[in-house]
Every structure is written in structure tokens, then in C-alpha cells.
Symmetry: C2
Subunit: 210 residues, 2 copies
């Protein structure tokens, strides 16, 4: 059995519930049935455990983003060529809607990504570095992605004209907001899921041309 990985798993579980400072080395060792001294055979310090979790999640996060990222065509011009327009016209409001919901459902049910998100949410005020990592991962990256997407959809004539950045915020921010409530108050999960669905629907009603 790989103790080192078990330690990382347990530490993440604890950090995501009680934060870095709220978790003691004994808290991590206890559930694993080993003494806290044993932890120091695998890691130099508590901080190193935390850092390793962050590093690992960074790697996995990049993988997910890679897969998530639809490699949409972009010829750099104001107008798309005919072939590209066809690509975007194929993107229906309903399809996008289902994409988002799938993403949300994954983010909220996958234990690992949920714990990492929660850990970063709790720890974001601990240091400037962590704060920037949180914003970078869960806000800027997603907004940037949506902004590019909407830019293309506007060019392709799928959705109405508008400021792509503002549209991205209008589309994505309610999703984070409801995911935040869902994280803090799991008993409201159903309500939040429905709200996200309603939101996405309303958004496409307002923006799509057809």
C-alpha cells in the first residue's frame, strides 16, 4: 500500500474541511492508523504536504482544462470563413446548455475536484499566491474561455451582438455563485442545480438569434 499517496488523500480531505491551519498532523495521521511521527518519513513538513497537493492538482487541472477546451477555429479575422461559420452554426443553444450542466455536475460530484476547490476557497486569503491561484483557476480561466467562445459565436452569427467579456461574466458568474451556495450548503443542491439550469436557459433565450 502506498502510504505517501494515502497521506495526500487524507490531508486533502482534512484541509478541505478545516483548512490548513485548522488541521493538525495528528488529524492526518489518526485516520490512517499511524503516528504523526511516521508522516515525517514521507514529507519534511506540513507545508510540504500542502504544497504537494497543490502541485498535483495543478497537473490534473491542466489536463482537465485541456480536454474541456474545445479547439474552435480562429483565423484571426473579423469575419469567419464559410467553413468555420458552419462549425459554429452547428453549436446549438441546447448543446451548449448541456455542456455547461455536464461540467457543473462533474465539478460538484467528483470528490477530488470538489475537495481541491473547497481547500482553495478556504485557503485563498492565506497568501497572495493562493489567492491568485484561486482567482486564476476558477474565475479568470473560465471567463477567458467563455469570452473567446462568445466572440466566435457572435462572429458566426449564432448569438446576438454584444460585449463578449460582459456576456461571459453574465453567463459564468451565476454558475459560480450557485456552485458556491451548493458547496457551502449541500442541502440546497437540488435548488442550485435547478437554478443553474434555469439561468442557462434564460441566457440563451436572451442571446441566441433564433
Amino acid at each position: 500500500m502506498n502510504t505517501k499517496e494515502l497521506i495526500l488523500e487524507e490531508a486533502l480531505r482534512q484541509f478541505s474541511q478545516k483548512g490548513f491551519e485548522g488541521t493538525s498532523m495528528s488529524d492526518i495521521a489518526g485516520p490512517l492508523g499511524i503516528s504523526k511521527a511516521a508522516l515525517y518519513k514521507h514529507f519534511e513538513s506540513k507545508q510540504q504536504i500542502f504544497d504537494r497537493i497543490i502541485e498535483e492538482s495543478e497537473e490534473k487541472y491542466k489536463d482537465v482544462l485541456e480536454k474541456l477546451s474545445v479547439h474552435y477555429p480562429d483565423n484571426g479575422n473579423d469575419k469567419l470563413n464559410k467553413k468555420d461559420v458552419d462549425v459554429y452554426s452547428g453549436i446549438s443553444a441546447k448543446g451548449l446548455c448541456e455542456n455547461v450542466l455536464a461540467f457543473v455536475r462533474f465539478s460538484m460530484s467528483d470528490e477530488y475536484s470538489r475537495q481541491v476547490r473547497r481547500m482553495l476557497t478556504i485557503s485563498q486569503f492565506q497568501s497572495r499566491e493562493l489567492s491568485e491561484m484561486y482567482t486564476g483557476r476558477y474565475v479568470d480561466a473560465m471567463l477567458g474561455y467563455d469570452e473567446k467562445l462568445f466572440e466566435q459565436l457572435i462572429k458566426a452569427g449564432v448569438i446576438k451582438n454584444g460585449d463578449p467579456k460582459a456576456l461571459a461574466a453574465m453567463f459564468y458568474a451565476p454558475v459560480i455563485m450557485y456552485m458556491g451556495i451548493w458547496d457551502r450548503e449541500p442541502q440546497r443542491a437540488k435548488e442550485c442545480e435547478k437554478a443553474i439550469r434555469d439561468h442557462v436557459e434564460q441566457f440563451f433565450l436572451m442571446t441566441s438569434k433564433h
Copy 2:
């Protein structure tokens, strides 16, 4: 000089920067130039200081909400009477826009409300009670307010038809999101303020009938 109030002020400053657990009694006493033992002449425990801050902010928060709350007419019918329609027709997109920006500017520049918000943001994962207080204050209350407002504006024919709840989320969520970035990374204040302005503008472009 009222030491008790000075303690509450300093404690709030510390809690909002380092959280409840990250702040020691000496951290609070030090800047006031007194010993930590002196704190116990005014409060029974560290927890009691925290609780008192929460209580006080609750009172002030209710006052602010009271003032913020436009007492718009609502006759309970599907359609408004002529007089009420006039009230709502007087509400221009630009006027609402400036209202929101004023609210945001106040929230971000007023030291007290900023510290309280930051303290609650940091502490929200500490207990279910605090978590619900955070959501209640900064999400549910604001969403509820906006929802009612949009309901009326739709009835009055000022903005296009749509799901008022979804509209409220679409309007308010980006505002919280940018305020969050602003809180975490103050160097991005200007960027966030502009983004909020652009968002509000885009929103009214998309929803207003004229």
C-alpha cells in the same frame, strides 16, 4: 477613551485579515498598547469578541438594507395600475445602473463593511451558522431584492419579459464575482470597477425595451 469599542475595532481589523483562528489575543491587544489579560476585563473570551462583532454588524446591516430597499409599490395583481406603472417607467436603465455602481463603490470603499464582508468570507467555512449568514447576507438577500425589482419592472413594461429570478442572478452574480476579485486582489480594483460598469450597461442593453 472607550477601550471596549477599540478592542472590537482592532479585533475586526485582525479577523478580517487573518481569520478567527489565525488571530491571537495578543495580536488584538498589541496594537492597542495593552496586555492580553486586559482584554478579559471587557470580554469573557475570544469567541465573545467575535460574536459581538457579528451582532453589531447584523444591526448595522439591517439598517443599511432598510435604507437601500426602495419601497416600490406592489398591489399584488398581475398588472400594475396606471399610477404604479408611471413610477416604474420613471426608472431608467441609466438610473438603475448608477444605483448599482454607487452601492458597489460604497461596499468597496467603506472600511467597516469591507472588513465585515471579508471576515465573513474567511470564516464562512468555520460553522454552518456562519456559512448560512454569509449566504443569507451577500447572496440570498440581494438576489431576493433584485428578483422583486425585476418582477415589477417586467409588469410595468420597462424591461422585456423573462424569468425574474434568472434575471436577478444574471444581473447580480457578476457584481459579486468582480467584488470578490477586487477584495482578494486590490491591485485589480480599477479593472473590476470597469468590468462592473460594462456588465451593467450590457445587461440593460439586453433587457430594456427601448
